[in-house]
Amino acid sequence: MVTVKKVQRRNLQTQSYIPSLLKGLGFTFSKMIKNLFNQDKMPTLNYPEEKYDYSPRFKGNHVLTVKKDGALRCTACMLCATNCPADCINIVASEHTDPAVEKFPIHYEIDVLRCVYCGFCEEACPVDAIRMGPEWQTAGVNGSVFNYDIKELAHRPGLKGGAVSRVDDLERHKAGI
């Protein structure tokens, strides 16, 4: 069985678009008026003056945590780099003068343009050295500024949740761990 569909021919009303245009403009205008007088109910934000407050669990830019003495917690085990699906973490390890620390990163770089913010690095870390912080606005003028190194990753004490890890190595050693 064949159904024959009758094509509706356009009339002048639809062909000239004018009524729809007016209808749309009217809607916009009415919203504008409404928002002008009820600014607190407005659903959008005045970015960048206003910013949305994300949950502290938000997985944004990476933070390298530090110990109580201010040194990096990172032991340069490279598990984050191994686990990274985007291959954006680059670490160079070195020998520390303190035998209790032994290994530490002299170079730790994350290419945030490559990063897919999956959080695998955070999960792979055995010593709570890398966390995904609440920051998410990354802007820059060229590609090179998106390679975050230790300086940018570690020294952000103002962050929520803090960048200082709770457990101290010394305490762990004393507890016989």
């Binding site: 032991t75 340069a76 085990c77 490279m78 020998e95 035998p99 055995p126 050693h173 016989g176």
Partner: protein, 505 residues
């Protein structure tokens, strides 16, 4: 030959073989740490437990000889339970260092734990603390806490090198390996202790913290350090070569190799390499494309009356063959071959274990190639000297002196060099001297013939300098006027096995 049954599989082993050897022959799984085929039996890790003829007592496989008709199993619940607890005993005082331990990834404890671990440990007491990061000289770092006291390293210094540096001091769970008063472990084979260490207690200073082992790939090769020709595995990734380890070869090196040989990868890595063809004009070096270089060479060869080739025994059999063919084609020219030996006074020395004074991998190969060698004095009267240089000029001090001498005579040289010869300060090369980057043994395939006359294959590993040519490739290019690198078209053929440890420990 004795017949025995292991876990239901029949196997024939030679008389006097131990049960663990039978397991290995059958490639049947058995946990072990202290047993090493190249060392005496210690029988201390107590992991290779087996049940024999269904008897109730457990035996250790390493100290039990196979008897004809023996029925051996390690699959019963009793054995499994014993091995699980044996693992737990090993681990209760082992620190959780894996993230910073170089051995992680090829660690015996990790591997066996995955197979036989008692995943939920009941140990709630404090671990025994021992010394960490103990400096044992130039090459080795000791971490006593990680040590499981399998005594392999101690047996190695006692039985193989007979230098007795290492010992196990104290007793009970305070036992520690070490040297007397932390004296350096400086015998010429010290890094073998690192290889045989099933855990990260002994680590190599050179490799320490350089790479995680799972980032490395390995290629089978032959050590170019001397005419012994030890079988090795070269470990590399895109950042270069990182370490060299011996591979068991019954006929040549057994399980071991010397420390010197492990350093040879260093001259392969990019920073010290000659990376492009350079031409010397008025004491300055100018880069040259391959085609122009070949033109230059062809011109030089056609002009020269008296050509000499200053050859060492550092090249492959294939390269010598190509050289021979090339010489035969230039019948109208006089081509003299000069065979240059390193340190002639110590050339025939041998340390009794592996190290030979002949610092070339292919002396037999060169001699068998059928060259007629001329006296070194012909070099002075040559117009052009083709010098495929030794890979590691450090063991050829006189060779460099000779080049310097020839340059003073304004002899035009065609150097094929691995190291950046143009950085050499004292030599003022003659105008028209070419320096062409050469492939190292790790970058080319071929064969070496060692001092016993054993032909061994080297495999092509990672190419570090793309512009580098082998001697045969250069001669081929000279012949046809250009060079297409067929190798570049093919994908790099490396041994892609990620199982780096496998047979190592």
């Amino acid at each position: 030959m004795f017949k025995c049954t292991i876990n239901g599989h029949e196997v024939e082993v030679p008389e006097g073989a131990s049960v663990i050897e039978a397991f290995k022959l059958l490639k049947e799984d058995i946990a072990h740490y202290c047993w090493h085929p190249g060392l005496s039996i210690a029988g201390v890790c107590r992991l290779c437990m087996v049940q024999i003829d269904d008897g109730p007592r457990l035996h250790i496989a390493c100290n039990t000889l196979v008897k004809d008709g023996m029925k051996i199993t390690n699959q019963t619940e009793v054995v499994k339970e014993a091995v699980r607890w044996g693992m737990d005993f090993h681990l209760i005082n082992h620190p959780l260092d894996c993230p910073i331990c170089d051995q992680a990834g090829e660690c015996g404890l990790q591997e066996q734990y995955m197979k036989y671990g008692q995943y939920d440990s009941s140990m709630a007491e404090k671990k025994v603390k021992k010394r960490k990061v103990v400096d044992l000289g130039e090459r080795v770092v000791l971490d006593s806490e990680r040590c499981i006291l399998c005594s392999r390293c101690v047996r190695f210094t006692d039985e193989v090198t007979k230098t007795n540096e290492l010992g196990i001091f104290n007793r009970g769970d305070h036992s520690e390996i070490g040297t007397f008063e932390d004296q350096p472990l400086d015998n010429k084979y010290s890094l073998n202790t690192v290889d045989i260490c099933p855990v990260g207690a002994l680590t190599s200073k050179d490799f320490r913290f350089q790479q995680r082992v799972w980032y490395l790939k390995d290629t089978d090769s032959i050590c170019t350090g001397c005419s012994t020709g030890c079988s090795i595995k070269v470990y590399h990734n895109k950042e270069g070569l990182f370490r060299v380890k011996p591979v068991f070869n019954e006929k040549v090196n057994g399980h071991w190799m010397c420390d010197e040989g492990r350093d040879l990868y260093k001259h392969v890595n990019a920073p010290v390499r000659l990376k492009q063809i350079l031409k010397s004009v008025g004491n300055e070096w100018f880069p040259l494309g391959l085609e122009r270089a070949l033109d230059h060479l062809n011109e030089a060869f056609s002009k020269a009356e008296n050509i000499s080739v200053l050859i060492t025994a550092q090249h492959t059999v294939e390269e010598y063959k190509a050289l021979k063919n090339w010489a035969q084609q230039l019948q109208d020219k006089t081509i003299n071959f000069v065979y240059w030996k390193n340190n002639p006074e110590s050339f025939d020395s041998f340390d009794g274990l592996l190290i030979r004074g002949d610092k070339n991998p292919n002396t037999k190969g060169l001699l068998e190639a059928g060259f007629e060698f001329a006296d070194a004095s012909v070099l002075d009267s040559s117009d052009l000297v083709l010098a495929p240089m030794p890979e590691n000029p450090a063991v050829y001090p006189k060779y460099m002196e000779k080049l310097e001498q020839l340059s003073k005579l304004q002899t035009q040289l065609c150097l094929l060099s691995v190291s950046n010869i143009t950085q050499h300060e004292t030599i003022n090369f003659a105008d028209g001297t070419l320096a062409i980057p050469m492939k190292t043994a790790f970058e080319k395939a071929g064969h070496f013939i060692n001092h016993q006359g054993l032909t061994q294959k080297i495999h092509k590993g990672r190419v570090i300098v793309k512009a580098a040519l082998g001697l045969d490739e250069l001669l081929q290019a000279i012949k046809i006027g250009k060079w297409i690198q067929p190798q570049l078209l093919k994908s790099r053929k490396t041994n892609e096995s990620s199982k780096v440890s496998g047979e190592l420990w």
